[in-house]
Assembly symmetry: C2
Homo-oligomer: 650 residues x 2
């Protein structure tokens, strides 16, 4: 169908949002025209921290190792420095984990690395899937003219040095703007940026190698002093990034055109850091830029032309959110486009992109506004508030309180999608009484990330991270927690084993949602395909509260001949790994830590996770057809009647 | 001094032992001529598993990530399969961890990867340090003629296709044979292979991708059946390696020239695996080879020409020991040559290479002999021994018993170097009463690996693996466990803080062993050098039983102005991470898990670890000069009077 000038999607901009979208769609076999107006990937500067949640996502895509190979700095804690009493310069008033223990994170740190290295990991992956970025090219025109119903969008692109160096007009199913704050596409669509309670700032940012006796130079620090405020962020290769606020609209004499030279900023940093010394060995990058807070009023007008990343939300860099939000914008959109284009879901699901991602951006902006305002305000010293307490016992100031309250958000685990067709809640069209609600019946919350857990893979006895066992393959992930198969010494299988067999039978029925989207016999996958055994849209993991050797021994009882779950040979797990967060699991021979973390008891339960890692629904595991019917109702809300039977591109 | 034809060392053979030696010495700045008679690195086959201990070592060299990037198979458990009663084929009689929990291993699994990938990680690292392998070249002559006292060894090498394609005669300080079992150098030296109680075997080995319903195909398995014995080893890329014993000298009709075709071996494997089916999708490599058990009587004659790896010890491949033993041969020799050549140690320390490594090889051979003999013996079935027990309750047969007993050995943690100048024992020349003995006063054993522990690095609050914090840099690693600095609520520093200060003062004295080998002022290192702050031969880590924020707050008390340990800014640690092996550390706010693992209490202690990771001595930390004097005595046993002041090559 597609000829040389027809593409599934045209992606404009090869920053984090464009690269994430391109990488996902390239893996799933889509034909992509990806352009960027820069001649090369980012060479210096511009890095943001990779949040704990984003690192989960990158690992799920198999990109974490390529990023870690560059030895990024890891931020586990943030130190707060404030003015010391009596003009003694600054002193540390406390520290706080960047991802505190109340957040159950697999990687409880922020990863700091030059953005070019991060981009390269994506570009390399795209290239193995036949997609590359055409540089330096720019978009000059586009229209959803509908002349071709399958490829309704016409897009004109050309070389940045003028059309004599190259110009193309192509047709596409979709057009995506990952152009950043100054988006041609957004402007052309007439989508306004909303500035609710705008805080604008002028920032200086400097990357370099320094010499100092400041003890926290390898920590993330927020420093308030009588000479101004600064944020210190460690980087790879012994570098440190300093963010210096040069002007803020909260200043009485605010001037958004205020600027500062490299030398002036260094001088200011030296003043702020007193009584410690600070000298530069080298400066890798320096920039001054004004930033206003804004959010796009719409992320799409026609569900053909979409916006994402900085093009939709701009804010101060300090909370380290730009790249992370961009990644998740793209990850959210990618599988929805995939499911529509492969006829698994109706076109209407594309309408969930904007509300899911815009609410996240709104939360980000209100956090950022509060944080940015406080950051530029010098807090009182202990002396000034007349306290005789020691520094560590000081009342926490508002800045620290805001920071701590924001940890879930800044780690990326605060993202919570509201209820809709994907994220079950009582008003969902699926009404079975078997859906389990938070917090009464499960610790899992729909629209939130799956809680991490460590289990033993039965096939090879490897200890693995269950939440990572299914890669970002565009499939729904169905986790069947099979509970405790043996509850007394009789060796008689428990009701949860029978419930699991009921569910397997239900899913094996030709009319079930699971079979409706299975591969045609002629498209059967390789004997060695571990994840998409029957369908491109579902992957299943089964977990038993039993030591691994017992599962191996009892396999034919637990997953008897013809049991559908048994076909996922690499996705049967023993919940037999002790977890420090589940004290009872530390006893010798104890099992069930992963079940306990999900809030499941001996009866187990079923968790459906969206292709992007967020929990869709949680269902009770019961004997009979109830569990299967509940899942059927749930999937009915967003699947077609058609028989999508996509052949895997793996 | 060195001209074009003079080298610090000529290394012959680019298998595991030669590459490890070359990589270490290249990092430390030595000039190396490295040749191999193969035109390319290993393309297929020949892999051995990387033991848990070897993975520690590879990580310590920064090579682990490059190896893991190839997604090797990881073996956590071994399954035992034996003949089932009544000619029913085989059945699983049990499983056992390949590195059981009684061994405190950071990576409790064996890593299986094609040897070429492993070699490439070394070759890449060598190249960044200016050393490459000259191929396909071979050695034709050598002599320790002493014509040049600095470069006493003359070596002639030439292209394998004859001298018209290239021939060189060079002079070297050392010559090393990593040639493998058929060593020209060993032969020429007249070093005999000893065959104590020789078992020889003919083995078939086959790497390929299979289809099977055998449930443990992704596990390591030892299978005994009426049709013969086989070992299954999972590999990367869905491959599996099968080792099939074709003949053994324990057979009544043993013929060492017996062979078998690929088809015959496949047919035999199919018979052994019944009642399961087994088909090959592809075969990557197949080979039949006879192996005799042997050990070189000498590893060196003159401490100028050395042998290592398969050239010194040959045995069956089944215990997966060849490559691992080779790595450790080279790692043992490398730092000793480095210390002699940089004038830190007298030439006499080279005499410790042979006894340390030969005793390991002897243990390996006696384990292998026992294991190989049992492997080829079909154990009785449950029926045959008239037992009514279930399979899992069967008395363990001798094979399983030997396997379990050998776990410490096969994981690599069984290597225990005997007492000598480096490995303190009561007969050592250092007689201070402050040396702590195992098991009364410390859990650490000299000549054994440092026990792993997880701590928080104070500088950046990163959770790190203490045993990995100092890379393989040729330095002694001095770990100062500072104990509990505050023992009551008074905030008065405890005696261990004063003891630590005493030791810092001792080491700061210009005549101390530590200062004698410090850099000349003109050779001072970079401000950012973390490991070799004062000397190329020592790196120091200091660990306190105190939460990290408290150490940061109290730093000036704990490591006051001018304290020598404070100069290691990146090597101050908080022992505040809970450890599942130290139950009391799991309580909220508990500290001291790492101290407890070493067997230290509130008073701490000092551990000296050799450059290759093995414990040299453990000393009590006391106020006054005693601790420093004990270390002085210890180092005096193997250091020169000279002022070795090597400039770091980093």
């Amino acid at each position: 169908m597609a000829s040389a000038d027809k593409y599934d999607i045209v992606i404009v901009g090869a920053g984090p949002v464009g690269l994430m979208l391109s990488t996902c769609l390239a893996r799933w076999g889509y034909k992509i025209k990806h352009i960027d107006n820069r001649p090369e990937p980012t060479a210096t500067g511009r890095a943001d921290g990779i949040q704990p949640r984003s690192l989960d996502l990158l690992r799920n895509m198999g990109l974490k190792r390529a990023i870690m190979a560059h030895h990024p700095a890891k931020v586990y804690e943030v130190a707060f420095w404030d003015p010391a009493a009596g003009n003694q310069g600054i002193h540390r008033t406390g520290t706080w984990a960047s991802c505190p223990k109340f957040i159950d994170a697999r990687y409880p740190f922020t990863t700091l690395l030059h953005q070019g290295h991060i981009e390269q990991a994506f570009i390399g992956d795209m290239e193995t899937n036949g997609t590359s970025v055409q540089r330096p090219w720019t978009i000059t025109d586009f229209e959803n003219d509908g002349h071709d119903p399958t490829y309704p969008v016409s897009v004109t692109i050309q070389h940045v040095d003028g059309e004599q160096k190259g110009k193309e007009t192509v047709r596409a199913k979709y057009l995506f703007s990952g152009e950043g704050a100054r988006s041609f596409i957004r402007e052309r669509l007439g989508v306004k940026m909303d500035f609710g309670d705008p805080i604008s700032n002028v920032w200086g940012v400097m990357d370099g190698v320094v010499r100092t006796n400041f003890p926290d130079i390898k920590m993330k620090c927020t420093i308030h002093s009588d000479a101004g405020s600064i944020m210190v962020i460690p980087r790879e290769d012994n570098m440190v990034r300093l963010y210096i606020q040069i002007a803020s609209s909260t200043d009485p004499d605010f001037n958004p055109r205020k600027t500062a030279t490299e030398k002036e900023v260094q001088e200011k940093a030296k003043q702020i850091l007193k009584p410690y010394y600070l000298e530069w060995d080298s400066v890798e990058w320096y920039s001054v830029y004004p930033i206003g807070q804004g959010i796009a009023s719409k992320y799409t007008l026609d569900e053909r032309v979409f916006l994402g990343g900085d093009c939709c939300h701009t804010h101060s860099p300090k909370a380290g959110q730009g790249m992370n939000t961009a990644f998740l914008d793209a990850a959210n959109l990618a599988w929805k486009i995939h499911h529509v284009e492969s006829d698994f879901s109706p076109r209407s699901i594309l309408s969930t992109y904007e509300p899911e991602r815009k609410s996240v951006a709104q939360n980000l902006l209100s956090f950022d506004a509060k944080y940015a305002k406080l950051f530029s305000t010098r807090p009182p010293t202990a002396g000034e508030i007349g306290s005789a307490h020691q520094a560590s016992e000081l009342e926490e100031n508002d800045f620290v309180k805001t920071f701590k309250a924001g940890c879930e958000f800044t780690s990326g685990y605060g993202v919570a999608y509201g209820s809709n067709v994907f994220n079950w809640c009582p008003s969902h069209s699926a009404k079975s009484h078997l859906f389990l609600r938070h917090p009464e019946a499960t610790t899992l919350r729909t629209g939130r990330i799956l809680i991490p857990s460590t289990v033993t893979r039965v096939a090879d006895a490897n200890e693995v991270h269950l939440e990572q066992e299914i890669p970002l393959n565009g499939s729904y992930r169905i986790y069947i927690f099979g509970g405790k198969p043996y509850r007394d010494s009789s060796n008689a299988p428990s009701s949860s084993v029978r419930a699991l067999q009921s569910l397997a039978q239900y899913l094996a029925h030709p009319k079930s949602f699971y079979q409706r989207f299975s591969f045609l016999p002629s498209h059967r996958v390789s004997h060695h395909e571990p994840h998409n055994v029957h369908s491109a849209f579902f992957s299943i993991c089964t977990i038993f509260s039993l030591p691994r050797p017992r599962i191996a021994e009892r396999r034919s009882t637990l997953l008897g001949a013809g049991n559908l779950f048994a076909s996922y040979r690499d996705h049967i797990y023993a919940d037999d790994v002790p977890d420090i967060r589940v004290p009872e699991s530390l006893a010798d021979g104890a099992v069930g830590a992963a079940h306990a973390k999900m809030g499941f008891g001996d009866d187990g339960g079923v968790v459906v996770v969206r292709p992007d890692g967020y929990v869709g629904c949680v269902v009770k595991l019961v004997e009979g057809s109830g569990t299967g019917e509940a899942l059927e109702e749930y999937f009915k809300a967003f699947t077609t009647d058609g028989k999508a039977q996509l052949r895997p591109n793996l």
